[in-house]
């Protein structure tokens, strides 16, 4: 029998009831009128019947047990399913906990803000003060404040030291060497002029002048000052001009000594520094105009005075201690201009 592929597909679909109703009717009409097609249909139907008539073979009874045995060494379905359910439950529970915690935090934050707005500012301040005073204990914030107070650098000193001497070249050379030895890292500027500038008095004109501008630490300045103390007797006068916080206002300390300068400069508090400078100014002014000046000076030399500022250590003929790099990083809070005004006198040596 010759195969009719398309017709076979149509007939097979007809046999299996897979055709739409209209096509099903058309094929049925075709089969009714075409004997060959009817025969072919019968053959195909026989094939289908032959296979359909094959008896259903029952599965061996041990399949279930074998399946259980095969799964015995593996994670069981129920366990994995329980794990899945448990995981889902755990996630759900965790999510609820997180949500509850977030809600609780939000509520606490709102309540805190409300309480702080209404009550807390005064209460907190009072309690902090009471804590500090009554118990003598510091809160963390207090401790930080006190610590920072203690660590605050000394207030910067700014001023000018005017030295008058008849031994100008020698004094200038000495000061220059002293600066080189004691304040090597300090910013210094030396200038020379033959006429006074700025705030010089008329009498200063025509006098040679040397300026040393220092920016250094108090420690370095003390060392320098100690060395300068050795030539103090070569000075005709020494005047310290201490700058105040008000522009243009100064405290002038006439007949200032090296010890007094140290006492003024080493004050940490600028206010206290002004007080000390004024005290010295008054004291020196009184001493200048009182009779028996030499006696007072002698008394002052024996350290019997109203004010006993820390004295610098004089290290004449002693090797100057070299500063370590760390020391050069100290706070350079001394801004001082040393002005040396000279006259026509013989050399120091």
């Amino acid at each position: 029998m010759k195969e009719i592929p398309n017709m076979d597909e149509l007939l097979n679909s007809f046999i299996d009831g897979e055709l739409p109703a209209r096509q099903q009717t058309e094929v049925q009409r075709l089969v009714d009128h075409e004997e060959k097609i009817a025969q072919r249909l019968q053959q195909l139907r026989k094939c289908k019947m032959l296979l359909s008539s094959l008896p259903v073979t029952e599965a061996p009874p041990q399949i279930l047990e074998n399946v259980k045995a095969s799964l015995a060494g593996k994670p069981l379905l129920d366990e994995s399913a329980f794990r899945r359910t448990e995981r889902a439950g755990t996630r759900h529970l965790l999510g609820r906990k997180v949500f509850a915690a977030a809600a609780m935090l939000g509520l606490v934050r709102i309540l805190t803000a409300v309480v702080y707005t209404i009550v807390a500012p005064e209460t907190v301040t009072q309690s902090r003060g009471q804590k500090t005073e009554d118990r003598g204990q510091k809160t963390d914030s207090d401790f930080r404040l006190l610590t920072s107070d203690f660590r605050l650098p000394a207030a910067p000193f700014s001023g000018r030291l005017e030295l008058r001497t008849s031994y100008l070249p020698a004094v200038v050379a000495f000061i220059n060497r002293a600066i080189e030895d004691n304040v090597p890292s300090a910013t210094k500027h030396r200038g020379q002029r033959t006429e006074g500038r700025g705030q010089k008095t008329d009498s200063d004109f025509r006098l040679p002048t040397s300026d040393f501008r220092l920016i250094c630490s108090s420690e370095s300045f003390n060392l320098l000052l100690a060395e300068l103390g050795n030539i103090w007797d070569k000075l005709d006068s020494a005047t310290l001009f201490v700058d105040t916080q008000v522009f243009g206002q100064r405290v002038v300390v006439d007949a200032v000594t090296a010890e007094q300068i140290s006492g003024i400069v080493n004050q940490d508090d600028s206010k206290r520094r002004m007080e000390v400078a004024k005290d010295f100014a008054v004291l020196n002014n009184i001493a200048e105009h009182l009779p028996g000046r030499e006696i007072l000076t002698a008394i002052d030399d024996t350290t019997v005075g109203l004010i006993t500022p820390p004295k610098p250590v004089l290290t004449w003929n002693q090797k100057t201690e070299k500063k370590s790099p760390a020391r050069t990083k100290e706070n350079k809070n001394i801004h001082l201009t040393i002005t040396v005004v000279g006259g026509d006198r013989p050399s120091l040596n």
């Binding site: 097979n12 007809f14 053959q43 296979l51 599965a59 061996p60 379905l77």
Partner: protein, 215 residues
């Protein structure tokens, strides 16, 4: 004739639909860790799965092993069953894939010869006579009676084994398991037109085999 075919078809699909609803309940119970539901699914389908596999691979021991492997895979992967196709379809897809892979590995199942003399030599004259009567009878014999005919059964099984694997799978799913074309397409993951043409070629070839036996 048409009414009978349609009735069979609708009955078969209605049975599957009803079964799908029950299967869905059983699968949900399995997801919840109900091992009794899994046992129920195995007992419900083991004979049908085994029967399809046996008709494709033709070896009872291998069929039993493949059936067992099918259910193991089903249980292991039921967690990932998403329900896009019915459980029945999904399970049969696993079974047929396993069986076809098995057939590819076993060359002994391949029958390339359709030589008439070779085909005829396998059967006795009694078998020839039974087959001739069956094919020449214009009436529709009772399938139950046919099933008890041992000679006819042997011829049918042997003829089936002469089809290639893909054709045999389509014929078995349609004529033995009773699936419609759409479900066969889903199980085998092929187009509906492919099912139609593959089934047509399988039956034509089957007819040729039977005629060769009678010659």
């Amino acid at each position: 004739m048409t009414e009978v075919a349609n009735t069979d078809r609708y009955a078969s699909e209605r049975r599957i639909d009803i079964s799908s609803e029950k299967d869905a309940v059983l699968v949900r119970r399995c997801w919840q860790g109900d091992s009794a539901a899994m046992e129920e699914l195995i007992l419900k389908y083991q004979s049908r799965i085994y029967n399809v596999i046996l008709k494709i691979c033709a070896d009872p021991d291998d069929a039993a092993e493949l059936t067992q492997e099918t259910f193991v895979k089903v249980i292991e992967n039921i967690d990932g069953f998403e329900g896009r196709s019915g459980f029945y379809t999904w399970m049969f897809r696993i079974a047929v894939n396993l069986t076809l892979n098995y057939c590819q590995r076993n060359a002994r199942l391949r029958f390339s010869s359709l030589d008439a003399s070779e085909a005829k030599a396998q059967y006795s004259s009694q078998a020839d006579r039974v087959l001739k009567e069956f094919l020449s009878d214009d009436s529709s014999p009772d399938p139950a009676v046919m099933a008890q005919n041992k000679e006819l059964y042997e011829i049918a099984v042997e003829s089936l084994m002469k089809l290639d694997d893909a054709q045999r799978a389509v014929v078995v799913l349609r004529d033995i398991e009773g699936m419609n074309y759409a479900r066969i397409a889903k199980v085998l993951d092929i187009e509906l037109g492919t099912v139609r043409s593959r089934l047509s070629r399988a039956r034509s070839k089957l007819r040729q085999i039977l005629e060769a036996i009678l010659q």
